[in-house]
Amino acid sequence: MSAILDRARAQVLADGVGLDEAGVLEVLRSPDDDLSALLQLAHEVRMRWCGPEVEVEGIVSLKTGGCPEDCHFCSQSGLFTSPVRSVWLDIPSLVEAAKQTAATGATEFCIVAAVRGPDARLMAQMRDGVAAIRAAVDIQVAASLGMLTKEQVDELVEMGVHRYNHNLETCRSYFPNVVTTHSWEERWSTLTMVRESGMEVCCGGILGLGESVEQRAEFAAQLAALDPHEVPLNFLNPRPGTPLGDRPVVEGKDALRAIAAFRLAMPRTILRYAGGREITLGDLGTREGLLGGINAVIVGNYLTTLGRPANADLELLTELKMPVKALSATL
């Protein structure tokens, strides 16, 4: 076994101190022969510092498509010739989606909008939607509405939104290759306001955007510095009509190495399987990731693409003897 795994065992598993950028890079460069030992170690770290529970979440798009930003991976940008059309979800359908999510045993329901940041109409829709969900469904509400002003952060807290997702998407040095209509620093400043408000910070990104292995390590270190409550890990699912529509998907072994490396960088975070796992890793990879550092899943469909049926993931969790985190444990 390579020296980095010995070091990680002593530092991360025993002391709960995450690997730094250089350590993460060594992990990402570790040979295929070490992969199963690496995943086993990441799993032990997750069990020791997070426990066996898995946090289950459903997500829904409140406002789809027509976004003015140019994130090169995104089918919802209005600047590309993507076939995704603009559409709003009405409040009764939003509540129904929350109910169906809760019925799977999920404790988290994240409302997402394809916007640079919310306008008055979206904030009003959020206010009505969150109130309607809270009146009808026993589930925690999270939101992802782009960049916020301080006033909007305060409004979301007042509505009862307990967690805010805002992904940095990729490392600081690669970000300008992926997005030109806003900066990494603007995203960081929203995250800082969210943190200061007392809402839980959810921040991750997408692997496979064309970043180098070094930049993947840089990204893990930058996320570790932010210390988010949750890190959703997506793998690029190349979307027709977007600038990254022809990129290859991440190799399964590289995806698993990245999962383990991010866990070793952030031993205590909720590391969530998000979009792209189906095409990158398939059914087998979903299992390997859950035994390699992942401790949260998005069940069912994503925002514009479809996922595995929720019961396939839930049956897998039962088989792996990983209990779904209960609502009482999250309050």
């Binding site: 997500i59 789809t64 995704v84 027709p240 469909n301 994503y302 693409t305």
Partner: protein
């Protein structure tokens, strides 16, 4: 390519347009489209090629053509 929908929105009879890429169903190779549709809702109406309004929710999706109505999956 085939249509209109069964419960999953999978077309069941011949139709003119591919519901993923919007090109003529009888021309070109749409096997990649068909495979991708396992993890994507349709985007183009298979009857008229209009881009549909598609709402995905955790347990399903609805695709609406102004001319040909709703499809569900």
């Amino acid at each position: 390519m085939t249509a209109p929908e069964g419960r999953t929105g999978t077309p069941t009879g011949p139709v003119p347009w591919c519901d993923r890429c919007g090109e003529a169903a009888a021309q070109g190779d749409h096997r990649t489209c068909a495979a991708a549709r396992a993890l994507e809702p349709p985007r183009f109406c298979p009857d008229c090629r209009r881009r549909m309004k598609v709402q995905v929710v955790p347990t399903g999706w609805t695709a609406t053509c102004v001319e040909h109505g709703d499809r569900h999956g």
